[in-house]
Amino acid sequence: MTNKFVNQQQIQTDKQQLQQLLSVQEKSEIDQLLAHYPQPGGACIDALAIVQKYRGWVSDQAIAALAEHMGISLSELESVATFYNLIFRRPVGPVLMHPCNGISCQLLGYKKIQQQLRAALQIEEGETSADGQITLISLPCLGACDKAPVMLVREAISDGQPGTSSESLLVNLHCTELELLLQQFKESAL
């Protein structure tokens, strides 16, 4: 579909439908952001982060709606969204487990930890557990090398209430603790 043949009317209704995909809350936060920037494009990354905060990830529809709302082209927004590691363009579970694969953590056992996590969750790196609850994504050096090996665990979904934005927890892992911790998270997620 391009402006070479689609008629104006169709485009307008499509645009309206798209706009409705974003929640009032999302729109108001994004509008606040837009006011801060000389150009709407400047707010790209933050706006994507807002959408992700409420949805856990940024779907094709959500990104199209966001582009429409911000008045920038889809390709520009997508270009930015796909560049950054922490904008998720595929679904993730409400709980993200980020074991650190930085060098200090690797020296102190990251590989084993990651193996155990994979076994416990029965998934591969980058996948989400069968119950849809936990996604495993290793991240580079988390900046806690003195506590290595570490893992960042976060619950990415906020309920939209002020002050309850995503909680995250940096845990210092030794392999024995791992199973306990996983257990704990499985329970809380369910």
């Binding site: 579909m1 391009t2 070479k4 104006q8 889809l74 520009e76 997508e78 796909t82």
Partner: protein, 917 residues
């Protein structure tokens, strides 16, 4: 001129340029990918690495990118040094790690910049044994193929598409060695200039899909220096043929016109030449026996002569899409008094006015100077649709403010990314006066979409700023929305600019007054500032050429009148489809009364179907011809391949084979300005011919081997110095003849252009730049003598809300006759509809998508006598709020059928209602 030392030799180089540019001018072989002469330097591919020495004592040197290094006096470099060579080798090896070994099936192969650079860089062995990264390809529409695995991530495509042509739907996604170049979702590329991707991409990621449909290797093609026939800009092209089929069009660099880029209509609109509806034979209708018979050439010629014996009630129509020679021969044959143009009276008036303006007031400017200008006022022309290449130039002009700012920080214009970072949102001013939104809105400083009478008021107001006390006008603040304030703002920008430009256009359905006012404004500006420029697009490829030959009284409106009055017995029509000028039923009726209809055309148009005698003419690709573009630049276009069967250039039918040289001589006597015409045509030499085919042609014999293994005798070209064979001068020799293709040792792709230029952005060696019929010197003492001819464009005097000023909705793929015969172009033409704004629709009680009947009315709303309903089929309504109040847009082709001599007004009615009535 700075002096630099490269590998022990001292060279003088052009100041202000970078080392890569300098090396190209010196014809030193230095590979590159991300640099492009029109896209400049970003330094990402690292392929142009050389060694740079700090001083005379420095023996080690350090690697530096030539494209990112400004030349300055006393520098010392080495291209040959082992360290630099090794680095370039490693770099190309890295570039090639994921590139597939699919050259045998890749359409780029044989003219691939990547192949060339790989060889120049000395990479011969792939050490990398790991898996290659792979991507999925996208459907990008009918013009462009996508084969992402071949990508070497030079970023040229996105830099061209986004930064140069202003497209928004192509981009780079993801990161690291996984970068993907394409659209966010598969779909037709939106840019009107997407075809250039095929030339910009150094390898086979983006290739010409229309070429794929009848692909041939570059070395099997024959080509010629030609001129595009799809609009009035006159871009230079290389059409390329094999075996009687025109296979593709590529860009032929012309520094003042198209530079490196064509529009998609020009590049992909060629397939009409191969159209199934073409005729190769002459046909004659026998009315008594109700049959059509095929004639041999001699009989066709005889028959034609016998039709013309009686010149009483003879009428001939020339063609804006045919060459000057063809039109001239027709005019000479039938006599000036019987020769008519294919323009409406309204168009004809405007074209003559424009010629007068060029002659007496101010010559036209070229696109290169438009790109160098610093303020543009664009009036009433949707140039992206009507003369697309202009829009591309305006997009470059916008950048000049940023380039100037960068210069103050010591950053050279060719540091593309740095200039962009400094520029940010800073733009040279573009003001648009129009009736509806256009594709340049995104870069405009002001957009005034208004009814033509308000447009005119605004232009007149700007004119009056020039005549008023200047300082006063320039100072008072523009703080309100009044016409005076808008005019002042525009006036101020025009006044402050070093090189202000007025850009406008002549097109069907446009109010004459607007053009006159624009020309007047341009004249005032020019009087004030001799650097000021004027660009005025005209409808078709040879509109101005035809206007040079005709008188403004003899136009298509008078043709129709005479047909209606039944005073035409014999009608000769040159390459024109009369059905574009009125409704089908009416034209059927009018032609039914004409005794002898003779049509010369290369396509069987609706008009051709009515012919009593149809003579097959050859297309632009099969004939030599001259064309006068919008700036009154006379250009010579060369025959690419010999016409098949009975096809021959119209001028041959019309003169019964008078030699071309004679025609040219006669033609040059028609007007003072045409005197130099013969110089355009290269002298035929017995010694040195220029080859149309490359010496590397592989299979001349094999092509017909299933019939005969003997070589087929190539056609002789009696009219030019070019051979239809590989015999003759190699195209890269400097010989005052434009090469028929671009190809030179080491450089197999279109990038080999740099081997044909004396300097970067210089013309192709040997290529004629065309003749400017009204050169600057002739009009240097111009003055504004013109009295203001019109004060206003009529407003509707009717009380009825239902009298709307109708203006054309132009479209790059819908309006032009020849390209419309091309399937893919037709596909992309929008569906016909009527466009008005919401308020207008509400007032008329109409809703979007409703089917409407429309009729042309007079300004007071009364119906026109003797015209049946204009619409044969009802059209849906489209709401577009950018359209000014009181204005309706109708597709150009439908508007062109408005009854003659009526200023166009439209009345709308729901289709159901009218069918009730």
């Amino acid at each position: 001129m700075p002096e630099i030392n490269i590998d022990g030799k001292t060279y003088q180089v052009t100041a202000g340029k970078n080392l890569l540019q300098a090396c190209q001018e010196l014809k030193l072989q230095l590979p590159y990918f991300c640099w492009h002469p029109a896209l400049d330097s970003v330094g990402s591919c690292r392929q142009c690495a050389v060694l740079m020495f700090q001083n005379d004592q420095d023996t080690r040197g350090r690697i530096t990118m030539a494209c990112m290094t400004a030349v300055s006096d006393g520098q010392r470099f080495s291209i040959q040094a082992g360290k630099a060579q090794k680095f370039r080798q490693l770099c190309i090896e890295a570039t090639m790690t994921s590139h597939p070994h699919d050259c045998p099936v890749c359409e780029e192969a044989g003219e691939c910049h990547l192949q060339d650079m790989t060889l120049i860089s000395g990479h011969i062995e792939r050490r990398f044994q790991g898996p290659k990264r792979t991507h999925k390809n996208q459907y990008l529409g009918p013009f462009i193929n996508h084969e992402m695995n071949r990508c070497i991530a030079c970023y040229r495509c996105v830099r061209y598409y986004r930064d140069y042509s202003g497209g928004t739907d192509l981009n780079v996604f993801s990161s690291r060695n996984n970068v993907f170049f394409g659209r966010a979702q598969a779909g037709v590329l939106e840019s009107e200039f997407s075809g250039n991707l095929a030339e910009v991409c150094p390898t086979g990621v983006f290739t010409d899909k229309t070429y794929s449909a009848h692909y041939s290797r570059k070395w099997d093609l024959q080509s010629a220096p030609a001129v595009c026939v799809h609009c009035s800009i006159g871009c230079n092209t290389f059409p390329a043929e094999r075996n009687g089929i025109l296979r593709r069009i590529t860009n032929r660099y012309h520094p003042q016109i198209n530079g490196y880029f064509l529009c998609d209509r020009g590049r992909f609109g060629y397939d009409f030449v191969n159209h199934a509806q073409r005729t190769e034979h002459a046909w004659q209708r026998n009315n008594s026996s109700q049959t059509t018979e095929q004639l041999n050439s001699q009989r066709a010629q005889d028959s034609f002569s016998s039709y013309l014996k009686n010149t009483e009630q003879l009428l001939a129509i020339g063609s804006s899409r045919s060459s000057l020679e063809n039109n001239f021969c027709l005019q000479s044959l039938v006599g000036a008094e019987n020769f008519y143009s294919d323009n409406s009276a309204q168009l004809e008036t405007q074209l003559q006015q424009l010629l007068d303006h060029y002659r007496n007031v101010q010559p036209s400017s070229d696109l290169n100077s438009l790109e160098a200008s610093d303020t543009v006022l664009l009036i009433g022309a949707d140039v992206t649709q009507s003369a697309p290449r202009i829009a591309l130039s305006i997009r470059q002009m916008i950048k000049n403010a940023g380039i100037a700012k960068a210069a103050t920080l010591g950053v050279a214009y060719w540091s593309a990314a740095e200039v962009q970072n400094i520029r940010q949102q800073l733009k040279s001013p573009l003001h648009i006066i129009s009736s509806h939104s256009t594709r340049l809105d995104d870069i405009a400083r002001s957009i005034d979409n208004n009814h033509p009478h308000q447009q005119l008021a605004l232009i007149n107001e700007i004119c009056s700023c020039f005549s008023k006390d200047k300082s006063n006008a320039a100072q008072s603040p523009a703080d309100d929305d009044s016409i005076a304030a808008k005019a002042k703002a525009i006036y101020r920008d025009l006044l402050q600019a070093e090189k202000p430009f007025i850009v406008t256009g002549i097109h069907p359905g446009q109010p004459v007054e607007l053009l006159l006012a624009s020309l007047k404004l341009s004249a005032m500006l020019y009087q004030h500032n001799k650097q000021a420029g004027l660009i005025c697009a005209v409808p078709w490829a040879n509109s101005l050429g035809l206007a040079l030959l005709t008188d403004r009284q003899q136009n298509i409106d008078t043709v129709l009148q005479r047909l209606e009055m039944r005073t035409v017995k014999t009608l000769v029509i040159l390459e024109t489809d009369l059905y574009r000028y009125c409704s089908t039923q009416k034209m059927h009726k009018l032609l039914a009364d004409v005794e002898n209809i003779i049509v010369l055309d290369h396509l069987i148009t609706a008009t051709g179907e009515q012919a009593d005698l149809l003579l097959p003419s050859s297309s632009f690709a099969e004939q030599h011809g001259s064309w006068v573009n919008y700036e009154a630049r006379l250009q010579h276009s060369l025959k690419c391949f010999a016409a098949a069967s009975q096809r021959r250039p119209a001028y041959q039918w019309l003169t019964a084979n008078t030699p071309l040289q004679t025609i040219i001589k006669d033609l040059s006597g028609v007007a003072e300005c045409l005197r130099e015409l013969p110089s355009l045509y290269s002298i035929k030499s017995d010694d040195f011919h220029v080859a149309r085919k490359t010496v590397r042609e592989s299979g001349r014999t094999a092509l017909h081997s299933f019939i005969n293994i003997k070589d087929i005798q190539p056609d002789a070209d009696l009219d030019s110095n070019y051979q239809h064979s590989q015999e003759g001068l190699a195209s890269n020799l400097h010989n005052n003849q434009s090469p028929a293709y671009i190809w030179s040792p080491h450089w197999n792709s279109s990038e080999s252009l740099n081997q044909f230029q004396d300097s970067e952005s210089g013309a192709i060696q040997g290529a004629h730049s065309g003749l400017l019929l009204f050169a600057r010197r002739q009009t240097a003492n111009s003055c504004v003598t013109q009295k203001q001819p019109f004060d206003s464009v009529k407003e509707s005097s009717a009380d009825s809300q239902n009298v709307l000023r109708v203006l054309p909705f132009e479209h790059i793929f819908a309006d032009e006759e020849l390209s419309r015969y091309v399937e893919h172009i037709g596909q992309l033409a929008p569906a016909d509809c009527i466009r008005i704004n919401t308020a207008q629709a509400q007032r008329l009680g109409l809703i979007a998508n409703q089917l409407l009947d429309y009729s042309f009315v007079t300004a007071d709303g009364s119906a026109l006598e003797s015209t049946e309903p204009a619409s044969t089929t009802a059209l849906p309504l489209t709401i577009d709020d950018s359209i000014a109040a009181g204005v309706a847009l109708l597709p150009t082709l439908l508007l062109q059928r408005a009854p003659a001599s009526v200023v166009c007004w439209l009345s709308l009615a729901s289709a159901e209602e009218s069918s009730d009535a």
